[in-house]
């Protein structure tokens, strides 16, 4: 299937009937089949799909970069311009011909800016290398050009930073360096494989801006691989949706977003758009009494002053004077970028990490309020029955060596709440509650998918009839289509069981969908707290404004990032 894009720009790269296969024990796995698209000069094609859809494999096929046991099993990849067109699919992956194309005519950016650059070479050395290889520059020329490139990608003080190592850079800076490297030889085609997935939203916005600007300046054809429909809406000219190794829908971005034909595209768009507003399942919370009160909570990491260490180490305030009330039956979102202290906050409340200052007060259904920081081991155990944690990683948080029954029953057993037949009955009940078949309780976690595992984790959290759940990025590891189902499950459970949620997330959409109120964290502090709708539509604090406006909007007709506010340091 080839898309016919009604655009006048010349086609630089055309893929037809591409198939990629992996030879595995017990058969061949076709990762991509019958894939076709065109890349045109100056235009951006977004290849979008969920994990395992075959989009990354397709990207790598463009440069013959597929690792054994994978191989291109059929189709053509025609690269035009600079002489006669070349069919990349027929080139030897180790040959001179493909090497003359890599880095010279096609540049590539990868997902992990840390591991995609060598840790023991300077940024400069890694860029100079490309220039010397393809453009035959001498050392001085290459160095001068590298400094210029670094300046173009907005790396400050390029004369100095050219000699620094990747680990001395932040994630965004590394990705900028990566872009400089990919664009060093003015390639015709830029392939960006999930270039912003590992970055925070504000950094993502900057990097996407940079890619667009460079594309305009150099007139490149760009292939952007992403799983994020918001990113697609913001940057794409054309879209191809991949599902199970095939392109199921393709066309100009507006057509795909507003006139999707394929059921998968429709479902994908629905689950994304669903997170653009408050859930319909959400009922206005009526409670007024706080169930959990946090006052001036802080965690100060005092570094051990290493003897003879050259640089004096500074102390780190991971969480700094945080105060809020969680009302009974309410969902309070904690939003922030990486390093904002939101995860530590959750752990401080549960005393997985000991706070260094402030108070946490929990009000049980009966009896006096509890000062959590003053609890002894036994008291803390009681507190942990009422306030439970849902983890981010559905794989790491379940002991792979225990059956689902053992995992869910463990809190009931250790707290001597149930045993024997009543234990089994309770486990069955919990499994049904989270939408799993109780017949599967003898299975081990490895027999379940990510979404199912997260449900098991939720069942474990519910086993002790808790009153508060702290969900730490509970949906971040899941694909977008499963994400909204998980949120709906939590909402349903909240209403059925009268739960209160402290919902920690970096994802504004998820928080808006799920939460009543939102607290925005930055550098260990809460900068703004208010009703979810207000925070997401009319924030006051400059940081929140920058944050919200950096979130890609999954509608190409209302690009949010174009008009975003930047926060000046």
């Amino acid at each position: 299937m080839t898309t016919d894009i009604p655009a006048t720009a010349p086609t630089v790269l055309e893929v037809r009937n591409l198939a990629v296969e992996f030879a595995l024990r017990g058969g061949t796995f076709t990762a991509a089949r019958d894939v076709g698209f065109k890349l045109q000069a100056g235009r951006t094609l977004c290849l979008v799909g969920e994990s395992g859809s075959g989009k990354s494999v397709t990207a790598r096929a463009m440069m013959q970069l597929i690792d054994a046991p994978g191989r291109i099993a059929g189709g053509t990849i025609m690269l035009s311009g600079e002489g006669a067109p070349v069919d990349i699919a027929t080139l030897n992956p180790r040959g001179d011909a493909i090497r003359a194309i890599r880095g010279r005519r096609i540049g590539m950016i990868f997902q992990e800016p840390m591991s995609s650059l060598s840790p023991v070479h300077t940024i400069g050395a890694q860029i100079v290398e490309v220039l010397r290889l393809h453009l035959k520059m001498d050392r001085q020329q290459a160095r001068a050009r590298t400094i210029e490139l670094l300046r173009q990608v907005e790396i400050p003080d390029p004369e100095r930073n050219i000699d620094r190592y990747t680990f001395e850079f932040s994630g965004g800076m590394r990705q900028r360096a990566m872009i400089a490297m990919a664009l060093a030889c003015n390639p015709q085609v830029l392939i960006a494989d999930e270039p912003t997935t590992a970055l925070d939203v504000t950094t993502q916005a900057e990097v996407l801006d940079l890619i667009s600007r460079m594309q305009r300046e150099l007139g490149m054809a760009t292939l952007l691989i992403t799983h994020d429909m918001g990113v697609v809406a913001e940057v794409a000219d054309d879209v191809a949706v991949m599902y199970r190794g095939r392109i199921v829908e393709a066309g100009p971005v507006d057509e795909v977003f507003h006139g999707a034909r394929h059921p998968y595209t429709k479902r994908l768009l629905n689950s994304v758009l669903k997170l653009e507003r408050t859930s319909e399942l959400k009922q206005a919370s009526t409670a007024a009494d706080p169930i959990l009160s946090v006052r001036d909570l802080g965690k100060l990491y005092q570094p051990r002053q290493g003897f003879l260490s050259r640089r004096p180490k500074t102390e780190v305030r991971a969480v700094d004077g945080v105060s809020f009330d969680l009302m009974a039956g309410e969902s309070l979102g904690i939003v922030g970028e990486s390093g904002s202290g939101k995860t530590t906050l959750g752990r401080l409340i549960l005393r997985i990490v000991e706070p260094t200052e402030g108070t946490v007060t929990f009000r049980p259904a009966t009896g006096a309020p509890i000062d959590v920081r003053a609890l002894d081991k036994r008291g803390l155990r009681g507190f942990h029955q009422q306030v439970r944690l849902i983890f981010q990683d559905p794989f790491a948080s379940l002991n792979p060596r225990m059956t689902v029954r053992q995992i869910i029953a463990d809190p009931l057993v250790v707290n001597h709440i149930a045993s024997g037949a009543s234990l089994d009955a309770r486990v069955s009940e919990l499994l049904s509650m989270v939408g799993l078949d109780p017949a599967m309780m003898e299975r081990y976690p490895h027999a379940f998918s990510g979404g199912q595992r997260q449900r098991i984790g939720i069942a474990r959290a519910l086993a002790l009839n808790p009153r508060v759940l702290i969900a730490d990025e509970a949906t971040s590891a899941l694909d977008v289509s499963i994400r909204s189902q998980m949120l709906d499950l939590l909402l349903e459970l909240q209403q059925r069981l009268g739960l209160s949620f402290l919902f920690i997330s970096h994802d504004i959409g998820v928080v808006r969908y799920f939460c009543d109120r939102v607290a925005v964290m930055r550098r260990g502090k809460i900068v703004e707290l208010g009703p979810a709708e207000t925070i997401c539509t009319a924030p006051e604090h400059p940081y929140t404004k920058a944050l919200i406006s950096a979130v890609p909007h999954p509608d190409p007709r209302q690009k949010r990032m174009r008009t975003r506010t930047r926060l000046d340091a």
């Binding site: 024990r25 983890f391 948080s397 809190p411 299975r443 289509s481």
Partner: protein, 395 residues
């Protein structure tokens, strides 16, 4: 992209969840994989490794030899026949030529004839295929007490006529049967490996465990100890410790002291590994989850953390055995480990200490050396196989 268990997904009840990539692998997942515990998964993974499986068989055979030494050996370990000094190994044949030129089944060893070396003025034995000494399985011979308990005179292999002598692997300076001594030596050498590793393991798990679990000052102190011990060259240190064993001690005590010395210096790597794994596990989400579930420290360690490292421990322990065997062999060879009348592979190798002895009777070097190599190799292969299978959840 492999077909490891993580990809074995059964998505039956979630028609609503959009199928993930994983579902494309479902075809290969049996229902049994879903309910298979870690040991079953490990067994599946281990069984795919042919070399490791074969090594397991060899190791089991070696321990069988060690257990049944008295029965398997044709002669007693100390049986001397001074008239047969340095007799070379006799070949075994299964058939004899009959006078009419045909073949007849008769398992036998060839006898010896004596050749006098005029120059060196020495008698040497030469294997003479003309002489036939019939041998058989399950023959009667010298009586012995199996494990010092059961009296018997049945031997697995030997000459059918008890009066004959058979040196299948040759004889030593005072006419002792190298084959029998090698079998008895297996008992000592293989058991030292096993006992030594148990002591190492106990020390390593205990110190490594508390080091990794408590951290802090305890950890620093233990790490320092590990550092000192592992930085000192082992052979000189072993020699220094072993040389202090008084000559007057009974052989049983010497055996245990040598084992202890060998294991004392082997625990460091185990301690280091256990500590590393405990450190990593302590931070695992599922351990935190168990702590929040209300598990006590003991339950955390024994129910959640230890099961995750037992398989790794098994592999580590298997890989530690060869070092023990080599250590014992080396010390005994130098004359400061086990000493006669105890028989181990190292003690046997003492007879091959100088060039003259080896030139005269290369079999004194060859067979014990081969035994050491075979055992060390199979433990290494087995350990490697176990290590590869140790984490069935690893992609």
């Amino acid at each position: 992209m492999s077909l490891e268990p993580d990809n074995l997904v059964t998505d039956t009840d979630h028609a609503t969840e959009l199928p993930l990539d994983e579902t494309q692998f479902v075809a290969t997942a049996g229902a049994s994989a879903a309910v298979a515990g870690q040991w079953t998964l490990m067994l599946w993974k281990f069984r795919r490794q042919k070399v490791a499986m074969a090594s397991l068989v060899v190791v089991l055979l070696l321990y069988l030899v060690a257990i049944l030494a008295e029965f398997l050996a044709p002669y007693d370990v100390d049986m001397t026949r001074p008239q047969y000094t340095y007799a070379p190994p006799q070949g075994i044949s299964l058939f004899v030529t009959t006078p009419d030129g045909g073949w007849r089944f008769l398992p036998h060893a060839s006898g010896y004839k004596i050749v006098v070396d005029q120059e060196a003025m020495r008698r040497t034995f030469v294997v003479d295929p003309e002489q036939i000494i019939p041998i058989g399985l399950f023959v009667t011979g010298q009586s012995y007490k199996l494990w010092g308990l059961f009296e018997s005179n049945l031997h697995f292999i030997g000459p059918t006529n008890p009066a004959d002598t058979v040196y299948l692997l040759g004889s030593d300076r005072i006419g002792r049967d190298v084959f029998s001594r090698l079998i008895y030596g297996t008992r000592i050498s293989m058991s030292i490996g096993l006992v030594g590793v148990v002591i190492s393991l106990a020390l390593g798990v205990f110190l490594g465990g508390i080091s990794g679990y408590y951290g802090g000052a305890v950890d620093t102190a233990i790490q320092r100890l590990v550092e000192v011990v592992s930085a000192m060259p082992t052979i000189p240190l072993w020699m220094g410790l072993a040389a202090a064993i008084p000559l007057t001690w009974p052989s049983g005590l010497v055996y245990f002291t040598v084992t202890a010395i060998v294991s004392l210096l082997g625990w460091t790597s185990l301690a280091r590994e256990v500590r590393g794994r405990f450190f990593a596990l302590r931070e695992e989400d599922f351990v935190t989850a168990a702590r929040l579930d209300g598990s006590s420290e003991m339950r955390l360690i024994f129910r959640h953390m230890l099961p995750s490292i037992t398989s790794h421990l098994l592999a580590m322990v298997t890989l530690a055995v060869p070092a023990m065997i080599i250590a014992e062999t080396s010390l005994s060879f130098l004359g400061i480990g086990l000493k006669p009348p105890v028989v181990s592979w190292g003690v046997l190798l003492q007879d091959a200490q100088n060039l003259r002895a080896i030139a005269n009777a290369p079999w004194l070097l060859f067979w014990p050396a081969l035994a050491v190599m075979v055992s060390v190799l199979s433990f290494n292969f087995l350990g490697d196989g176990l290590r590869d299978a140790a984490d069935p959840y690893d992609n």
